[in-house]
Amino acid sequence: MAMLHRADARSARADVAPRQAETSRVRGPVRFLDDVLVRIALLVFVLWTLGPVVWMVVSSLLEQTALTSVPPDLSPSQFTLDNYRGVLATGGSLVPAFRNSLIVAFLTTGIALTLGSAAAYAIARLDVPGGDKLALMALATQMFPGIVIIIPLFIVLSRLGLIDTYAGLATVYLSFILPIVIWVLKGFFEAIPPDLEKAAAMDGASTWQTFTRIALPISLPPLFATGIFAFIESWNEFMFAIILTRVHTKTAPIAISEFAGQYQTQVGQMVAAATLASVPVILLAIVFRRYILMGFAEGAIKG
């Protein structure tokens, strides 16, 4: 019986092999064409994505006169580090601005992750009365354009003495970053198998302990991915920063904008400063790329 089965299997394989060969002969050129098209599309996408970044770096290395020529003069003699020297020479404003951006971004990210993860877990897992409505209300805050609320915000922060402070800026940033963090993490927490939490409960874990010792540790990738998002959002923010800062808490985007005046714009120095400002974000992405990719991958398959 067993021998018969093996013979049948061999016979079946013998039948299948020529069909596969025939199919692959037919599909070979099609698959090859598919591969080529996919690679071309990827190449175009990469060029499209990296193009502005490359141009930013190239611009930062060009003399102002070469940069403002039409077309730009890209001859080797025009390349220089003077823009970076100029930017660093004005470090009196740029360096503190970078420090301020780091402080505000870390402050915002830390609070957003702390509050956001707890809120998301509560909405996802606990029987919070009106939890879904609360989540929708948090999302509804995203519908208000920032410009609409900027004067009321200015008045409130002014009366609280929070203009030109890290706390003021971080509070405002949290108002639009926290809802996103809650919604993103809520999806991840909802996808955690309930059996894990049940097992923890059987071991005597409280809700807080389940959250801190079960849910959070296995959610590190999405936490990192969300944290990077929160960091970038607050690092890049411009509109609120220009209104709510004055002297002491000017952030990097404000310092970069200061190279543009009414009658003169130091284009080379501006892009040099922008290049420097992108370094922390790129470094973060490189250092935590494993977690970010895992976070994205999990986000792709989870609810």
Partner: protein, 442 residues
């Protein structure tokens, strides 16, 4: 699982939890010790005067720009005053002060203004009774036109910033042209003659519709040169007439005959157009006096030593220009307006004004300083601007100046691009401005 279970149920102070709690307590103490400086870095020593100013190289006061610093220190000592500057990139200034005023809270004592005095008039202190007569006597009378609203002088212009003609002397020489153009016909002819070898005779930033330095304000220059005005005596728009059409037709002709850099319609800031001239890719433009310094700086210019300046060519009614209106004002909420006025007087002190032009390139407003031979030698375009100031230079600023210039500028852009005839564009602009004026007058 056992480890988890142990951890979950343990409430004892083991060594690890003790360390953890100690660290938390330490962090709390550190936050209490260093917290205020991290959370409120703006909490600094009390200041007497707060000033909102543009950043250098835009027109900035001593302390923001590096000039007259010794005098500034001496002034602060003599007046027992501290001055805190909030220096902002020029493009953000208007929105910043609009938010400050709209909030109803006191933010700054002294504000820089550029054509926005009528818009913010309710928030400013009238200076009529505070201005020293000897200062007023030393200023061009017309310099007060853009800072006066409802009969009140609300500011003092501190730099004579009028549009004049700038041209590349080497290009003119190469083309065999003798001296700068003095009339519209000459300007048109020069521009066509200079359009050669991949460069253009004329360049300007027509991409920005509104504001001083937008295409509407450039048309106002030609409008006055043609003998027109923006508003009649009754305050209604009065530009849809022969001079208005003549001015717009001249701009359209210059643009469509190929002698204007076609990129002009997309150049938004004056910087964009200036860069074309200083790169040697255009031969003439109208620009502000500040251009003189960067155009003669090898780091930013390829035409060092080739820049000429002259008053703007005359139209059928003569020469005219507009005013950049860089002025100092005092907020209505200022706690000590007298001290604020003293600071403005210091900014307008002859010695400070001299250093202003020689060290930063921004011309003084005081006639005595403008006429000073040392100043005229250090700023060769000063005499030209002074001559330009002998002719009309009304910028027609109103509280709704931005809306008005946006309406007019958009229609001019349509005419330049051939989407409308000059007649249609002017009619439509006039209709829109009539509505804006009607809304203003309630």
């Amino acid at each position: 699982m056992h480890r988890l279970g142990h951890g979950f149920t343990s409430n004892r102070f083991d060594r690890r939890s003790l360390l953890r709690r100690s660290a938390a307590a330490g962090a709390g103490l550190a936050a209490a010790r260093y917290g205020p400086s991290v959370w409120t870095p703006g909490a600094s020593a009390a200041t007497n005067l707060s000033v909102l100013s543009p950043l250098a190289p835009d027109p900035a006061p001593p302390g923001v720009a590096e000039f007259a610093m010794d005098g500034f220190a001496a002034w602060k000592t003599a007046n027992d005053a501290e001055v805190t500057y909030e220096a902002v990139a020029w493009p953000q200034l208007h929105d910043k002060m609009a938010t400050n005023f709209a909030s109803g809270t006191h933010v700054h004592d002294v504000y820089y203004m550029s054509g926005w005095v009528p818009e913010f008039a309710p928030f400013l202190t009238p200076l009529d009774d505070m201005l020293p007569q000897d200062l007023v006597d030393d200023l061009p009378p017309s310099s007060f036109s853009t800072v006066t609203w409802d009969g009140n002088r609300l500011g003092v212009v501190f730099t004579l910033s009028l549009l004049t003609l700038f041209y590349n002397t080497a290009h003119l020489e190469e083309a065999g042209l003798d001296g700068p153009p003095t009339t519209w016909d000459e300007l048109k002819g020069y521009a066509q003659e200079l359009t050669r070898d991949g460069r253009y005779g004329w360049v300007l930033n027509y991409g920005q519709a509104d504001g001083i330095g937008g295409v509407a304000s450039y048309w106002m220059v030609f409008l006055q040169q043609a003998g027109g005005t923006l508003y009649g005596d009754d305050g209604a728009p009065a530009f849809n007439d022969a001079p208005g059409l003549e001015a717009l037709q001249f701009m359209v002709d210059m643009y469509t005959n190929g002698s204007t850099d076609p990129g002009s319609i997309s150049y938004v800031g004056i910087n964009d157009a200036t860069n074309v001239l200083t790169a040697g890719n255009a031969s003439m433009m109208m620009n502000w006096p500040f251009m003189w310094k960067p155009a003669n700086d090898p780091a930013t210019s390829k035409i060092v030593g080739q820049l000429g300046s002259a008053i703007l060519p005359a139209g059928s009614a003569g020469a005219a220009s507009i005013d950049g209106t860089d002025a100092w004002t005092i907020a209505a909420t200022a706690a000590d307006p007298e001290l604020a006025m003293k600071l403005i007087e210091f900014y307008l002190d002859p010695v400070v004004q001299t250093r202003q032009v020689l060290d930063t390139g921004w011309l003084p407003i005081r006639l005595s300083v403008l006429e000073d031979p040392e100043v005229q030698e250090g700023a060769p375009n000063a005499a030209v601007v002074l001559e330009q100031a002998q002719h009309p230079y009304d910028s027609f600023v109103t509280p709704d100046y931005t809306e008005v210039t946006l309406a007019i500028g958009t229609e001019i852009q349509r005419a330049l691009q051939g989407a409308k005839t000059p007649e249609e564009a002017l009619q439509d602009a006039s209709d829109q401005v009539a509505e804006i004026v009607a809304a203003r007058e309630g």
